[in-house]
Structure formats: C-alpha cells, structure tokens
Subunit: 142 residues, 2 copies
Amino acid sequence: MSCSLSNQEKILHLLKGLNNQISPKFERCTGISASRYELLHQLYETEEINQSNLQKAVNIDSGAITRHLKQLEANGMVTRRRNPTDNRVIFVRLTSEGRKRIVGYQKEKMSFVNQMLHDFNPEELESLLDMLKRMQNNISEY
Amino acid sequence: MSCSLSNQEKILHLLKGLNNQISPKFERCTGISASRYELLHQLYETEEINQSNLQKAVNIDSGAITRHLKQLEANGMVTRRRNPTDNRVIFVRLTSEGRKRIVGYQKEKMSFVNQMLHDFNPEELESLLDMLKRMQNNISEY
DNA sequence: CTATATTTGTTGATGGGTCAATCATTGTTT
DNA sequence: AAACAATGATTGACCCATCAACAAATATAG
C-alpha cells in the first residue's frame, strides 16, 4: 500500500489482510474452521446450551449458527433437541465423538496461535487485548 | 467467551469478531466494500496498473480481483485494456466517474476509521501497527 | 381472553474470499 | 526450433458471513 496512508488507514488495511490470512491458515492447521471450533469449544465447556446463547458467545449471525450446527449434527459431532418447556428453544450438546475430536483441535489451535504471537511478551499481549477491545467497542456504537 | 481462555486465544477471538463487525459497517458507512475501495484507491494513486500488481497491493486472490474489476467496469468506475506488448497482461485505470466517486468514499472511510480509533493516542497507533505487522509476518511463515 | 410484541430458529439470497483447474501468452532451456 | 517453465488472468466450486423475511411459540399489554 502507498506511503500516503495515515496510520489509521494502515491499521484498517492490516486488520483486513490479517484476517484473510488467518482464516484459511487456521483451517489448514487445525482441520476445522474458526467458527466451528468456537462452537465446539463452547459446547465442550458447557454441558448443554441453547442456540441463542451459543450465538452470543461465538458472535456470528443466528442463521450461520443454525447452518453450522446442522452440519456438525450431520457429522455426528453434536446433538440438538427442542426444549420441552419452550418450543422456541433448541438445546445443543457435544456427542462423545465431538468431545473426543475437540481435544485434537485445541492442540492444533494453540500451536497456531502461539506461532502467531510467539514474539509477544505478556505486556504486549495485554496491550493488544485492550486495544482490540476498545476498537470493538468503538465500532459497536456505529 | 469463557474465562478459561488464555490471552492468545482471546486475541484470536477478538480479531475474528472485529473483522466480522468491520466488514458490514465499513460498507454501510462508505457505500462500498473494503476491497473495492482499496482497488479504487490504488487506481486513484496510479494512473494505470496491471491486475497482478493490483492483486499484490490489495492482497486478495487474483480470481477475486478479476471479479471485482469486472463489476467495477460494468458500473463504469474502471476501464480495462490488454497490454499490446504482452497479451497476458491487463491494464486497469479509473474512469472520470470513478475518479469523482472515490473522493466521497475517502471521506466516509476516514470518518469510519477515525471513529474506530478515536481514543488511541499516537504511541498506541504506532504500537498497534507494529504488532499487526508482526502477527502478519509470523503467520506468513506458516 | 384477545391482540400485540418479542423471541428463537430457519431459509433464501447475496457478496466476498480461497482453492484449483484451465487457457493463452511469454520467457527460458536444451 | 522445440520443449518446458513461468506468468497473468479467468472461471467454477465451495465456504462463510450478513441481511431480510418468515413461522412458530411465548410473553406482555389491555
């Protein structure tokens, strides 16, 4: 990119490019997409959860949540059942197969993220975390 | 996301979530997608350029470059012509209409990015830039 | 009790990226 | 000159997100 860009513009450009690199490399490294991984990870930590809360945790569209879960269900990684006391709600849980598979994904994911941040010290990690949160907060208000 | 995540994992989650927020909001704010904007901006700064160099500047797949340019061409924003001395190469330039429109996009884009980073001081901007570059470099080697 | 509002989840359409295969053209090697 | 390699661009397939519309169920207001 041209030198005529401000730092703010460069930051935007880098965020976009970084994400475009992360997506396919994460999937190649771990064998699963980032959103699928997050869904499974959330289910690993919570015995059972409804789709609405999963959606809030993973932070993507509810339509996308449904599609992911349907495919994970077809793959035998999760099960879904309707809440008998509120038929709007669908509960989701990991199958034992899913519980087994998440362990390998976690290792690969840690490997990937540690590589990405291998030369960051703890202060930098805290600082980066803070800045990312602030940016997210700043554009939430848009 | 659960408190059981390390800072590295939180950073990855935030990067992903941030980008998912930036994409639609950038487009809503400016009226054009981020990649289209970058393509047009690159053409604004260079009288004429081939697609291969555009692809390097904007950092997306050459197939995506072709698709974007074909639509921009259909919209009357750019023109494309084959290099008479090397028939593999296609040159692209902004039309006068495109040149006119980019100005408005630039203003809106600056508005968007200034909002996103409104509470960052110059040291933080430099620091963030440096960290994003290092992450990009770290995963390039993956 | 009825009407209205809200919530949860589903589906279709769309846009944007990657991956891979392909074609045409040019460059390099033998 | 011919064979092979590399380059630039195109296209198809696929994945993933958003947006919007919708249906069913529950909650709330009157």
